[in-house]
């Protein structure tokens, strides 16, 4: 054609400007598409992988320790020499602080620069000196001073916040809740060497020591409901004298126990509810040469922290064993370098305490998590007193040279440590260490119990029972469908199984919780007998079928056996349910549930693991089925044909050739099914009681990680430890399923390669 008309070709010029422009435009479009696709595609992939990073970003702060940072250091002009501080404290915002000095001078000042706000003198009678001092609890803001004439004075520091001109103004004041006249504690007027108090709206307990002797008073206040007038009822306590010099007295806020640190190594515990009777003398330090140097109660007043001269810190509390409560050592901490502990301060809202040693090093500890968050020198001179703000975000320190320093504290998540998440923890008021998940409570003194162990256990338990049901059924069904089933039937069965996979889990959960659980409770013998009888009846039917006249047998083509079993199963199911009540009446006295609980001692919850196993098994069967079926089906035909040609029976071929070849594929199917069972949320949420218990009992429920997230996430405060822990739970789930799936995928890929080479 072209040779016939050479002039035409010459006219066809591909290099006209228009063509060039066209080509350039095409080239440009090509490039544009390339970039567009590359950027867009990579963007999507990055966005998807962002999930990992974001979860990690939310979780990581949990594992950081505490940090402190010095902001200011100043010397305040109003601090008098030779007038050491008895107490430092800050109000909520960390803006205004209070210092109580031995001379009875109370100064309120700006915590950041020491500017005085208010100065006041405690109304101490003339010629009397302050001989002892104690703070009730940091959050009651009350303190008591013991005087040299055997009297005590109780005071409280208050702060009022106002907003004139939209600027925050904090006005401090000093109040005397029991009047500004001192209360006499020691009738003989001796100087009180140690003093302690505990109070609430109903009354007050005061205790003090004179040498080894203890004096105490309880004051109960009764209010007339009509007039509002108060009547005070004072009663002296008779307290047993201590066995050594009293170093410190502590009374818990519930006024149940009084702890007297006496001598070098002993603590006497007095039961205040029994009028101050001695509960016991406990040796709190072992070994010679050590002595108790400081002690303090933790938030809530249950735990006692004892610091000793070798830098050891230990938490003790009263454990109610079989008989009398005993003061028990729960856990110990060590300050670095073994310097004596000089001061211990509990935080106001968390189970955190701070300790200062003789070298001026600050240690921050969490009792529940049993971890040391920080040990850091406060710099310069030794420390006389320090205070941590109520929000635990500021620290105020008075040094030996009279200088004050103001620090920022970052310690957001002290409650988390490896041991508190995964180990047994001895919680306050518990008789022994245990795994507990209990994240929130109404009171602020609550000790958060953040063990992920029961949740992980619940997750595995639910997955285990689900897999117990699903694995055999799914694999057997997959093998049969892929290997024995007639193609026509296979075309009908596969969509049914696919439909099974598409059923929303919320529907399965709903049915499990509201239909299956009550059904199971009422027909427990029926269900159990159905589970046991099904395989037996299958075999029995198969045997009878093999005995049936050949004419009848030949009517059913090969590969349709499963269809025959459907009516058999339906009849069996009907039979079992009808018999259920009779079995119950004959063997279990009419009520199997009662029988289980009373005679067998097995707890029975209506929404239990059996329900979850059945429902979640249902959800997992199709997942395992489709992958396993695929693996069995793609076993090269020549292998099976070879085996059959050599005279092996179909079953021998299946069990010795097909399953063996396909076993990695079947294994990966089980892994993917496991991944699904572990992450499933709605079914476990609806079909279990969601109680975080650790027990393999099939008739009890559980709480899984995923259900826990669904239940607690909406109420969790953003950025709190609880919130981040739920993110950690999500991350655990994500990593677990991701690893499972990746492993399964790798196995499958290898299998595919193997088939290809066969």
């Amino acid at each position: 054609m072209t040779t016939q008309s050479p002039p035409k070709t010459s006219r066809l010029d591909f290099n006209t400007p228009a063509m060039q422009r066209h080509r350039a435009a095409r080239h440009f479009k090509d490039h544009l598409t390339r970039w567009y696709v590359a950027v867009g595609g990579l963007g999507v992939i990055v966005a998807v992988l962002l999930i990992f990073l974001y979860l990690l970003y939310e979780v990581l702060p949990l594992f950081g320790g505490a940090e402190i940072e010095e902001r200011e250091r100043y010397s305040a002009s109003w601090v008098q020499a030779n007038d050491p501080p008895l107490m430092l404290a800050m109000e909520e915002q960390g803006e205004v602080a209070i210092r109580v000095a031995r001379s009875g001078q109370v100064s309120f000042f700006k915590a950041q620069d020491g500017q005085p706000v208010l100065q006041q003198q405690l109304p101490i009678p003339a010629g009397v000196e302050v001989t002892s001092f104690s703070v009730e609890t940091p959050n009651s803001r009350r303190f008591v001073v013991g005087l040299s004439n055997g009297q005590v004075l109780i005071a409280q520091h208050n702060y009022k916040v106002t907003y004139p001109d939209d600027v925050r103004l904090i006005t401090p004041s000093l109040a005397f809740p029991y009047g500004d006249a001192p209360i006499t504690l020691d009738e003989q007027g001796r100087a009180l060497s140690q003093v302690a108090m505990s109070s609430d709206s109903d009354g007050l307990v005061l205790a003090a020591s004179v040498g080894r002797e203890l004096v105490g008073t309880t004051v109960s206040v009764t209010r007339n409901l009509m007039t509002g007038a108060e009547t005070r009822n004072e009663r002296a306590l008779t307290l047993e004298a201590a066995s050594g010099d009293v170093r410190q007295i502590l009374i818990d806020p519930l006024r149940q126990w009084m702890y007297v640190v006496n001598g070098e190594q002993y603590v006497d515990v007095l039961a205040l509810r029994q009028g101050g009777e001695l509960n016991g003398r406990y040796r709190v330090l072992e070994g010679t040469g050590k002595s108790v140097t400081s002690a303090s109660l933790m938030l809530g007043g249950i735990s006692l922290i004892i610091g000793d001269s070798s830098g050891g810190l230990a938490q003790w509390f009263m454990v109610r064993g079989n008989g009398n409560p005993q003061l028990t050592r729960v856990r110990g901490f060590d300050q670095q370098e073994g310097n004596a502990i000089a001061l211990i301060q509990p935080e106001e809202r968390r189970k955190v305490f701070l300790s200062l040693d003789a070298e001026g090093q600050l240690g921050v500890y969490n009792s529940t998590a049993h971890n040391n968050l920080l040990v850091e020198p406060l710099g310069g001179e030794q420390v006389q007193a320090f205070a941590i703000g109520p929000r635990a975000d500021h620290l105020l320190v008075e040094h030996d040279d009279g200088q004050l320093s103001y620090w920022d504290v970052h310690n957001e998540h002290p409650e988390v440590s490896w041991s508190s998440l995964w180990g047994k923890v001895w919680y306050e008021s518990y008789p022994e260490p245990d795994y507990v998940w209990q994240s929130t409570s109404a009171t602020s003194e609550f000790e958060p119990k953040l063990s992920l162990a029961p949740l992980t256990f619940g997750t595995l338990k639910a997955a285990f029972y689900a897999m117990l049901l699903a694995t055999p059924i799914a694999i057997a069904a997959a093998v049969y469908t892929a290997y024995f089933m007639a193609p026509a039937m296979r075309r009908k069965v596969k969509p049914v199984i696919e439909l099974m996979e598409a059923l929303p889990t919320v529907i399965l959960g709903f049915l499990a919780g509201l239909w299956l659980a009550p059904l199971l409770e009422d027909n427990l013998p029926g269900i159990v007998s159905l589970l046991i009888l099904t395989p037996i009846v299958f075999i029995l039917f198969a045997y009878l079928w093999s005995l049936a006249p050949p004419k009848l047998r030949q009517r059913v083509p090969d590969g349709w056996e499963a269809a025959l079993l459907i009516p058999v199963l339906i009849v069996l199911g009907w039979f079992c349910f009808t018999m259920s009540v009779y079995i119950e009446a004959w063997f279990f006295g009419g009520d199997m549930r009662v029988f289980l609980t009373r005679d067998m001692g097995i707890n029975f919850d209506q929404r239990n693991s059996l329900v979850v196993g059945l429902a979640m098994g249902f959800a997992v069967i199709p997942t395992i089925f489709s992958i396993a079926e695929d693996a069995v089906f793609s076993v090269p035909r020549h292998l099976t044909q070879g085996s059959l040609a050599l005279g092996a029976s179909p079953w021998q071929t299946l069990s010795r050739v097909v399953i063996l070849t396909a076993s990695p594929g079947i294994f990966s199917a089980v892994m993917i099914g496991m991944g699904r069972a572990v992450g499933e949320t709605m079914i476990v949420l609806m079909a279990t009681g969601n109680t975080p218990i650790m027990d393999w009992n099939i008739f009890e429920g559980m709480r899984t990680l995923s259900a826990n997230i669904a239940v607690e996430m909406p109420e969790s405060e953003v950025g709190s430890t609880h919130y981040r822990l739920l993110f950690l739970a999500a991350l655990v789930l994500l990593s677990f399923t991701f690893l499972m799936n990746t492993a399964a995928e790798l196995i499958r890929q290898r299998l595919r390669k193997k088939y290809a080479s066969l």
Partner: protein, 556 residues
Amino acid sequence: MKQGNFTTWFKSGAPWIWMNGGAVAIAVIMTLGLLAMIAVRGLSHFWPADVVEAEYTIPGQPAITLIGEVTTREQVPTERLHSAGLPVDPEKTEFMERELLKVGNRDLNGADFRWIVADWLTDERYPEDIVVVERREWGNFYGYVQQVKQDGKVIAEGDQAWQALQPAVDRALEIYSDIHALETGAIGKINSQLERIRLRERGLELDNALTPELQAELDAERKVQHDLYAELETQLVGLYREFNRDSVHLRSMDGREVDVSLGKIVRVFRPNAMGVGAKIGHYFSKLWEFVSDEPREANTEGGVFPAIFGTVMMVLLMSIIVTPFGVLAAVYLREYAKQGVVTRTIRIAVNNLAGVPSIVYGVFGLGFFIYLLGGSIDQLFFPEALPSPTLGTGGMLWASLTLALLTVPVVIVATEEGLTRIPRSLREGSLALGATKSETLWKVILPMSSPAMMTGLILAVARAAGEVAPLMLVGVVKLAPTLPVNGNYPYLHLDQKFMHLGFHIYDVGFQSPNVEAARPLVYATALLLVGVIAALNFAAVSIRNHLREKYKALEN
């Protein structure tokens, strides 16, 4: 037959084959049985069952008259009844039949349902003049119509009462729809206008730009709206007066008499007097109410329209988001990226993300989308609405985005599969003819793989429609006052929370105070959801098969 025979038969392996077959039978029965049960329970709920009246005598107590629908019958061991404190003798009979009777009248009886022992029920009869009254509160009423009153005066009594009741109820229902239209339409609009004025004022205040003139302008606008509202309010008061004009005097099974305002009645009917035709009509009208109406009585009665709407809209939005991105990623992975270890790793990672628990996506959506992204957007663009969050709280947009993220692996995998199935020869043919890579992509590859994308999308939609766990964290609520699309500016409210069928099932089934009464409705909702998802899945399967056929033809 001899024992030896069984042993040989057993050793041949045949029983194991049968056992395998049995597993298939179990799986099939489980699935089909489950679907059948949902269908039967869900669909039977709308059927007007006959109402029985009978004398019920617990031995040792005076007889009482019961009126109600029998919902369940079952055999229980007498022992169990005995331990429940009923005067039965376990020695005499081993089993007794008991029935669950829906007696309604929750305002009088305290509970809708009552278990009774069938043997103690005597003189069962089905009087034609028993009426069932569906009410907006306190559930159904079963009993007899005594009088119809207008403004407290009796206008019809006895036999005439039923004749007079039906038109009066229809009239009240008409007024109800007027009131509803007024409240959600005009008054809703005024409220939204007032809110916008408030936000504008606050915005100006924040910018320190609220001059007295502007303030006056805003106040004037506000006044216009308030006047409009006052006008509508008088209209509404009038409608309400008309609405509550009539009442009906009813007698319950135990002879107690109550007056029920017609304004509280949704429907009255006499099931025992209905023929099959009338019952079928009633059935379909109830079915229509179910799919088209709003829920009543803490979601235990009425319809699920807002939930259907929310589900569909969220899924649509998700599809719009997920399709382009999923396809883009698949095209990149298959056509542009260098096929090596990295691409393989990414492919496996993406594949596996489809198996990550959905709750994890919910957590991510809550933390990243809502608190981080939504919170920042609120700070930047909606400071006037703070502290109440606009996008910093769960809503339609974030739910769709979360689900898009959840389903993007599905779309990627399906599209990639479609891309792999396109024969190499086609690609090479196109390139050989001088087409650039992008032209090949746009004109050959993408059109040919479009059925695969459709499959991916449909599978994604089916998965998204059934997911509930992540949605619980990112914006689904049990009752949303308005639809996400309405007549108020800006018409499409993507920041709004919404209702969802799956969550509806969870909420009504598990959080509802009256689970027993709500259960049939939950079955119906479940059936609806299963229907939608099954249809989507079958569509995906048939498209996939069609696609495979098509390329088989091309390969040869």
